[in-house]
Symmetry: C2
Subunit: 350 residues, 2 copies
């Protein structure tokens, strides 16, 4: 990978880490308080678990919404926060958080830097990172011969491709590549796929026509060969259901295995932690560090339930906590969106 770009940090009053439903509502409550925020998420889209894990599944316990899917809830929240125009930074994972007299220095794996006066950790069960095959030696070949299906991929014209996975994304990569690649092989541990009927039908038709090959097996080892510069991947070996080992050559390996959450470096930011959760007070949902709040599934306190609606409450009190931190002399009383002219102006409904 190329070195991260070096640039001046983005100065902001508030940085929200995590664009799940609670992170989005955090932006709303900050907006009501007149605080603009930046939001950063490891996924290429907003919505977090709601979109990644239950986009089309029903949720019944959002107050006032009898039923909605994860995707619908996120769309509703996006609409609600629109007046406040938070700045979203997607496909970026926070790697470093450091305190300083000027504020919190935060840096993503893409090299983006922020200097934030307050931080809101709404990271749920952690950053969702693409799942990898559990074989050794993949990392040095990333973005050379090994790719994640969730990232933007090169054309692969005239190349022999091995795709790992059974999802819609995996099948679509096969279908997209079959016209230009030299060969397309899909590998999954069994001949059964977790995909939409239409896409599955297209895939099976291409397979019948011999344009896509399928192998059932579990990858065990990478195979390499000497090359002009160092070594090059030649393919991998896999075990079939009978325990037989086979070789599968490829020019490129594309892993479309979904995502899994990783708490990642949050544990190293110097905040009080209890069983991998950030300890907060229930007055402002502040962590042990001044100006750092934790809301949603990542925090813990007596009585904590990991429910979205509880995260909404936490984000609300955290926004009031941020006001006390950013504007310590502000003695504004609680205002209501129903009656406050100030809030109407901020909401754009004046």
């Amino acid at each position: 990978m190329s070195a991260a770009p070096h640039s001046a940090p983005i100065h902001t009053d508030a940085l929200v880490i995590g664009a799940g439903p609670v992170g989005l509502f955090q932006a709303f409550q900050l907006g009501l308080q007149g605080i603009h925020c930046h939001i950063v998420d490891a996924l290429p889209h907003v919505g977090g678990q709601c979109v990644e894990l239950y986009a089309d599944k029903p949720i019944y316990d959002i107050p006032g919404i009898q039923v909605c899917t994860g995707r619908e809830l996120v769309a509703r929240l996006e609409q609600q926060i629109a007046p406040f125009q938070p700045t979203c930074h997607l496909s970026q994972r926070i790697e470093q958080v450091q305190t300083s007299p000027e504020g919190w220095h935060v840096r993503s794996d893409q090299g983006t830097e922020w200097l934030a006066q307050t931080l809101f950790i709404a990271a749920g069960v952690g950053a969702f990172v693409p799942r990898s095959l559990s074989i050794e030696g993949l990392t040095p070949h990333l973005h050379q011969q090994v790719w994640f299906g969730s990232q933007s991929l090169p054309a692969f014209a005239g190349q022999h491709l091995l795709i790992a996975g059974d999802s819609d994304a995996a099948l679509q990569i096969c279908l997209d590549a079959m016209d230009t690649a030299a060969s397309v092989t899909l590998m999954h541990r069994r001949d059964k796929f977790d995909a939409e009927p239409d896409r599955l039908a297209a895939f099976e038709a291409a397979r019948q026509a011999g344009r896509i090959r399928f192998v059932a097996g579990q990858a065990t080892e990478l195979r390499t060969q000497p090359a002009a510069q160092g070594e090059r991947l030649a393919g991998l070996t896999y075990l079939d259901a009978e325990g037989q080992t086979h070789a599968q050559p490829f020019d490129h390996l594309i892993m479309a295995l979904g995502v899994s959450p990783k708490l990642g470096p949050i544990a190293e930011w110097g905040l009080a932690i209890e069983r991998k959760q950030l300890v907060v007070n229930t007055e402002t949902f502040a962590t042990s560090a001044p100006g750092v709040f934790a809301v949603g599934d990542i925090n813990t306190y007596p009585g904590k339930k990991k429910l979205i609606l509880c995260g909404f409450h936490e984000a609300t009190l955290a926004a009031f906590g941020a006001v006390a931190h950013l504007r310590p002399n502000d003695k504004t009383l609680l205002q209501y969106t129903t009656t406050s002219a100030v809030l109407h102006k901020r909401l754009g409904v004046a």
Copy 2:
């Protein structure tokens, strides 16, 4: 008034006092936990302040609902709690709450009695009771010659009526009565009304036609006359804008002056109180009394904000608190409405 009926108390696991948005959502969260509840409210309808004070005004900060009126929010919550069929007791104000080894004995002003294992006080700013003219001696004549406009009224055919108020309700009572009453007079301190344009136009037309009379003034004193049994109201005196006293005779006085919240006897139930708010812990929103929870605007704790969405969170944790109280050996883990077969069955979506 007739004496309250004497009957056996209603046995229930949970009694929710207050049918505002938070009380309604309390019933939802109890339902998810498999606990049926009774709800009681002083108003003749559910919805509390949401319907009484801002039925048609917009609310912008319910998570996932960009904008809705108070009435819409209540309708949405009613729909959401429908699967759990809570038993509603309206137009009843709780007068007495007493602990006993069997549970909490609760009694309303209508004589209804409950024996409840858990109590949820979701009474907002108190019970909404109809506003009265501030003159002495009204009470003995209630339901004889003095009435509240919010209650069901007799026909009043051939009677001289004085209606006090300036609202839609006050004007509508005049319009309804003018065909059968001997005379209809509306009294308000000034010749200006807080009513819908259509109703106001109908009222002004009837006034022009001499079918309704209007007097501007402030009631000062009741006037009585001897009657066969004790004494009878003959009318009242009022001050006009110039400070002149006038007499206004009536057979019946109907007060349509809106409602005002009264904390009422809650202060006498032996619960810890701080500046008229019930002190709760933030783990289960339990008050100082075992099995009694307080949620929404009536409670207080460090960081408390009187917001509906915070009440939703409080009601949720209070329902978990009730489970711990009612089924102390229940070690059920948190279940999600998205995935739990048990919750789907309770919600009727199995």
